[in-house]
């Protein structure tokens, strides 16, 4: 007797045979115990394989995944806030130092064209001066160093601007973000 091939047995088990082959196999199975047993065993294996209990993820898995998903949004607005705070602060500082430079012609040796001492009102320049002094001595000293070492008027202004940008960039990047970032995490 020619038995069913292994392929036929598996296809019969899966119900994957076409009508004619299915009928042919059924005819053989009616008279062959060996193939019948084989198919019964394959059916049992398939049934158990199909219903094997899935391996459970550890408890809290869903929460851990969601923690990666929901805080993505929270983190982004916090980051945006920190970024904009840093930028606003940096811009204010640059304007303050530039204002201080413009409103103190004696310090910066800006050439006076004639009558105009400064186009910034005295009261505003005083406020700028106080504000800058409060920023810290180091920045002030460094600024004065630059101002002393460069003799020409335009280069004074350019150096001062670059220096203030560097200081404020560093402040923005390392101090403000790190400090605020740490506070947000806690």
């Amino acid at each position: 007797m020619t038995h069913l091939t292994t392929k036929q047995i598996l296809q019969f088990t899966d119900g994957a045979l076409d009508y004619a082959s299915q009928a042919q196999c059924t005819q053989h199975l009616a008279v062959c115990e060996r193939c019948r047993k084989e198919i019964d065993l394959q059916k049992a294996i398939s049934k158990i394989a199909r219903h094997q209990p899935p391996i459970q993820a550890t408890s809290g898995f869903v929460q851990r995944v969601m923690a990666h998903i929901i805080p993505q949004q929270q983190k982004s607005w916090k980051t945006k806030l920190i970024d904009s705070l840093g930028n606003v602060f940096a811009m204010a500082m640059v304007l303050a130092i530039l204002g201080y430079a413009i409103s103190n012609p004696s310090l910066f040796q800006i050439q006076q064209q004639s009558k105009t001492q400064s186009f910034i009102p005295q009261s505003v320049s005083d406020t700028y001066a106080k504000f800058i002094q409060s920023v810290g001595q180091q920045a002030g000293e460094a600024t004065q160093q630059v101002m002393k070492s460069t003799g020409r008027d335009n280069s004074n202004m350019i150096s001062l601007t670059i220096l203030s940008l560097l200081i404020l960039g560093a402040l923005d990047q390392f101090v403000l973000k790190r400090y605020l970032g740490m506070r947000m995490k806690h």
Partner: protein, 198 residues
């Protein structure tokens, strides 16, 4: 399942990001089965799966329903696990010999008849589950996708990127290895029972 997934995904895309938890809950255990079959280490499997779920979430707006969510989802899980295997220097491949479709030519001997055993017995159940776990690494994922994820050959091809012939050959060999291991173990059960009777 398909409609349930679709409804949840539409809610997520509509802005209800918390609804993603439902999708994770629904698929996590079956996906874990696949990840563990591939990575063979619980912690690695869970980390890979977590990574896969985050990727799936981020990619959801680009999902176009060209295939079922399940097929698309398992492709991402499979790829994350495969790249993890790649990092371990264990690319997810087997030798050409094992993948050869000629594997289908393996035939049972005509006198190779399975011993009598109660097919519904818990003993047989335990034997089969144990032997499924012991399938060679290359066959485990294909076997899981076919039986646990209930996928067709074509869907397995889509998930794994393997040629159809390879998928068929792996599944065929896995089932025959399982059959032979089970028959061997049943033989032992029968033997021990006969000894006890005698």
């Amino acid at each position: 399942m398909y409609d349930q997934d679709r409804a949840v995904i539409e809610r997520i895309l509509g802005g209800d990001k918390k609804a993603y938890a439902e999708l994770v809950e629904r698929h996590k255990d079956k996906a874990m089965t696949l990840a563990l079959k591939m990575l063979k280490n619980r912690q690695d499997a869970e980390e890979a799966l977590q990574d896969a779920f985050v990727r799936v979430f981020n990619a959801l707006p680009r999902f176009e329903w060209k295939s079922s969510f399940s097929t698309w989802f398992y492709r991402i899980v499979y790829n994350v696990c495969a790249s993890e295997l790649g990092k371990r220097n264990e690319p997810h491949q087997v030798s050409i010999q094992e993948d050869n479709e000629d594997a289908q030519a393996v035939e049972l001997a005509s006198d190779d008849t399975p011993p009598d055993v109660a097919l519904e017995s818990s003993e047989l159940n335990a034997i089969i589950l144990k032997e499924i776990d012991r399938l060679p690494d290359a066959y485990g994922p294909t076997f899981a996708l076919f039986f646990v994820q209930d996928m067709s050959y074509d869907e397995i091809v889509e998930v794994t990127g393997l040629p159809l012939g390879t998928v068929k050959a792996r599944l065929f060999r896995a089932r025959m290895l399982l059959r032979n291991a089970v028959v061997k173990r049943i033989g032992n059960i029968d033997g021990s029972k006969q000894e006890k009777v005698a």
